[in-house]
């Protein structure tokens, strides 16, 4: 797996992968497991993925970013059981100038959250376990047209 990892993420290694003498600006993002979600205390998270499609989608996102900005991008997403504070996703984008580095980094984290088939199950302090739905709506309320628009299909 190139983009998905069962082991702890290491931001330094992502930075090293995109760094080069001609790229003086590196923008990074690290998403870590928070201790709360919608006002409830979180203990841990399980991440799972549709692995081959997630890998394909990550490849597409990185390719789109590198086509749109003169930047090199690295992306990694953790799978498995994570505790509060663990890094779930890491992005590093290096460019000659910081505008491109920040723009590419932001694009990659936004698209990763939106397009990559990864799911998480939260274990709350009160003992309950729930699948996270970031759309905030009951799934049945999402029309296929909205989905198609979002995906550009």
């Amino acid at each position: 797996m190139a983009y998905l990892s069962e082991r702890p993420l290491d931001l330094g290694s992502l930075v090293a992968r995109v760094s080069a003498p001609e790229r003086g600006a590196v923008a990074c993002f690290l998403g870590t497991v928070r201790n709360h979600h919608q006002g409830r205390a979180v203990i841990s998270l399980d991440y799972s993925a549709y692995v081959p499609m997630a890998e394909a989608e990550c490849t597409r996102i990185v390719g789109e970013a590198e086509a749109r900005w003169p930047a090199r991008v690295a992306l990694e997403h953790r799978l498995g059981s994570l505790r509060v504070g663990d890094a779930a996703v890491a992005v590093a984008a290096a460019a000659s100038h910081r505008d491109a580095a920040f723009a590419a980094c932001r694009f990659v984290i936004e698209e990763t959250k939106r397009r990559v088939p990864i799911w998480k199950r939260e274990h709350f302090a009160d003992g309950t376990v729930e699948w996270v739905d970031p759309t905030g709506t009951h799934p049945a309320e999402r029309s296929v047209d909205v989905a198609a628009d979002e995906w550009g299909v």
Binding site: V116, W119, K120, R121, D133, P134, T135, E141, A147, A148
Partner: protein, 88 residues
């Protein structure tokens, strides 16, 4: 001359996360009358126990690419039914 019966199409269906939990399984094979579409797969899934918990139009992918309800299916295709993404 005899008119041949339309051939059947067998596809592999993958379920994930809350949808796998709703239907109590992560994968199954479905044989559909041709011409088959993603929509036909969803109709069959809804008839299974727990299938009523699927949303009206869940996101789907065919062979690792996002699909639409009318995306046509061929023999051996992999159809994935995807709950809302929650990475990051």
């Amino acid at each position: 001359m005899s008119v041949s019966a339309p051939p059947n199409v067998t596809v592999r269906v993958l379920l994930f996360a809350s949808y796998a939990e709703a239907l109590g399984r992560e994968a199954l094979s479905l044989t559909l009358a041709a011409p088959a579409t993603v929509q036909a797969v969803l109709a069959r899934l809804r008839a299974l126990p727990g299938g009523e918990r699927l949303p009206a139009q869940p996101l789907c992918a065919v062979n690792l690419a996002h699909s639409r309800p009318d995306t046509p299916l061929a023999e051996g295709d992999e159809v994935a039914v995807l709950p809302p993404m929650a990475g990051g």
